[in-house]
């Protein structure tokens, strides 16, 4: 046992394009780690907080929701409003209109309000105040494969990046408590604010792509993002046999960029079947082509993260 209490390594799984298989692969990783004689203590994070699916496969028992309070939205007190229009004059989000129920006062559309508070300061009557918003819940859950940190952003809300940062911090603290070597983060699609929050401070990026023009186009953008934040990255191709020419193009791109291609997972109808059963594919169909290939990707990933074997 090491005497130094070293920080857990963080793996971020990204794709750019949605639906390439990040969550199915993350779930299989959780099972493959737990399924050893002496499993490494490992912590999992679902950082796709507005379309969170990892818990549908890892199936935690009881959920213990903790509230996530994000930003604030402006609200007008109709009793104080004199309908002068100073608020709508400063609003850059087209969020302030005459109240549909009473056109003698102004009303702020909560869907359009950005929470900037410019109107609060513009109002001569002090009729507008900022009201803090609960924007979701987060959970620390026990699953058959380890502890999962996940969240549900309420539909349509902002601040997904803040919520990602919050659950990642909680996961890091917990990883220290249990002396875990590794935190595995199932990332969101895209390259914007929740992706940036998810990849901050991570040690390795695993990009799960698919062999299509779309997969390659978005892979380039997510690789650019990981490079910008100095996260070393590797690629694996999911559904690799669907379009062999696309797979060749990704191989060539990876070689030209000097990025290691650590695996090719074939299309396998066992993957959606396992998802429907709510189990990792490696649990239900351990001998399937996809499960075998994912196992290989997992072994390469753990060796890249230099996790110690017990």
């Amino acid at each position: 046992m090491s005497t130094q209490n070293s920080r857990a390594k963080q793996l971020i799984i990204l794709s750019g394009k949605g639906g390439t298989g990040k969550t199915s692969i993350s779930a299989a990783f959780a099972h493959l780690n737990a399924d050893q004689e002496e499993p490494r203590p490992m912590v999992f994070v679902d950082a796709d907080v507005d379309a969170a699916n990892l818990s549908l496969v890892l199936q935690p028992g009881n959920l213990d929701p903790k509230e996530f309070w994000g930003g604030s939205l402006a609200e007008i007190d109709p009793e104080k409003c004199i309908n002068c229009g100073a608020c709508s004059a400063v609003c850059r989000y087209d969020a302030i209109f005459p109240d549909p129920k009473n056109d003698q006062v102004q009303w702020i559309d909560p869907i359009a309000c950005d929470g900037c508070a410019a109107c609060v300061y513009a109002c001569p009557e002090g009729a507008i105040s900022m009201v803090r918003q609960q924007e979701g819940n987060w959970f620390q859950s026990n699953t058959p494969y380890g502890t999962l940190f996940h969240a549900e952003l309420f539909p349509g809300r902002e601040n997904s990046g803040k919520l990602v940062t919050l659950i990642k911090q909680q996961a890091r603290l917990y990883a220290e408590d249990i002396q875990s070597q590794c935190v595995v983060i199932d990332g969101p699609p895209g390259i914007g604010c929740p992706v940036i929050s998810a990849c901050a401070g991570t040690d390795l990026g695993l990009i799960v792509t698919e062999p299509s023009l779309m997969g390659l186009h978005d892979l380039k953008r997510v690789l650019g993002t990981l490079r910008h934040f100095h996260v070393p990255s590797v690629i694996c191709i999911n559904k690799a046999d669907i379009y062999p020419e696309g797979t060749r193009a990704i191989r060539e791109y990876a070689a030209a960029e000097g990025i290691e291609l650590i695996g090719e997972i074939p299309y396998d109808e066992k993957v959606p079947r396992a998802m429907i059963e709510g189990k990792p594919v490696t649990v239900l169909f351990p001998d399937s082509f996809a499960a075998k290939a994912i196992q290989e990707v997992w072994h390469k990933t753990t060796s890249l993260l230099q996790l110690q074997e017990d």
């Binding site: 410019a118 914007g192 993002t225 910008h228």
Partner: protein
């Protein structure tokens, strides 16, 4: 008519349906296609526009005229996004946190803040296949905020009668999806019959009910999953407007950049019928 194509879950086939819908309707009306997935836009791979215009998408960020600044700290105090900070007599601006709301500018008692454009992406426009007018926003890598780009992209042109605007939405169910949906007449939801597809579709239905936007569903990869999707759609009273069965040959063709209606031309009529159903639903709602 303004139609958003959205899904919740990523990779369900939004762009497949949105591009083929645009192609199917192009002979009936003037069609404009807006790729609002500014983080990972893919519509151009299918509709092959020739971009003739490219303008920067900007946020107006504060610049402090330091020689006149009294370092009173009012700008820092009013900024809800922590985009300004005071260190001694200096005010620092963090462009990536700034929402460009203007609050600091208006609240500065000395009037020493000017606003300068900070580019966070590009807005492009050009003509695509079958005379479709194509608009695309592109978030610059490492920039966090897609929503201002979507907002600016949608404002490039005013909706006109007899014009069909199709907005290809980003995945997920957060603020960028809401920005795409604002002001549309109808949301066409593309999903797959799996637990992930269903879970994320429910998030979308929550947003649409808050925004009072009618919707209908395209079930893509029909046959790979189970019945729970259809049960939910019945429960919420959401019509299924089209089914596209899972087909490996189709998946391969789409991967190479061919469109659904190019591979299977019979979907042109199916998508025109779908549009007809949308007009009936939207017309029924406004009556």
């Amino acid at each position: 008519m303004q139609i958003a194509v959205a899904s919740g879950k990523g990779g369900t086939g939004k762009t497949t349906i949105a591009t083929s819908l645009a192609l199917s309707l192009a002979s009936l009306a003037k069609v404009r296609y807006f790729d609002c997935d500014v983080e990972a836009p893919n519509g151009h791979l299918f509709l092959k526009p020739e971009f003739s215009e490219s303008t920067p998408a900007v946020i107006r960020i504060p610049q402090i005229q330091t020689e006149k600044c009294t370092a009173c700290g009012r700008c820092v105090e009013v900024c809800e996004f922590h985009a300004l900070a005071q260190v001694g007599k200096n005010i620092l601006v963090f462009p990536q946190l700034c929402h460009g709301c203007g609050s600091c500018t208006w609240n500065c008692p000395e009037n020493v803040i000017v606003e300068v454009p900070n580019p966070i992406g590009t807005l492009e426009r050009g003509m695509a296949l079958e005379n479709i007018e194509f608009f695309r926003g592109l978030l610059t890598i490492s920039e966090p905020m897609p929503t201002p780009i979507i907002r600016q992209l949608k404002k490039r042109v005013h909706p006109q009668p007899n014009t069909i605007n199709i907005y290809d939405a980003p995945p997920g169910a957060s603020c960028s999806v809401v920005e795409t949906l604002r002001g549309v007449d109808f949301a066409l939801l593309v999903t797959e019959p799996t637990p992930f597809g269903l879970h994320d579709l429910k998030q979308m239905l929550g947003i649409l009910s808050d925004m009072n936007i009618p919707s209908g569903v395209v079930i893509n990869r029909d046959g790979i999953g189970d019945d729970s999707l259809e049960e939910t759609l019945r429960e919420f009273n959401i019509p299924v407007l089209l089914r596209v069965p899972f087909d490996r040959a189709l998946a391969e063709n789409l991967a190479s950049g061919r469109t659904l209606v190019d591979v299977y031309p019979e979907y042109r009529n199916a998508l025109r019928d779908l549009y007809q159903q949308i007009t009936e639903i939207v017309g029924g709602k406004t009556k």
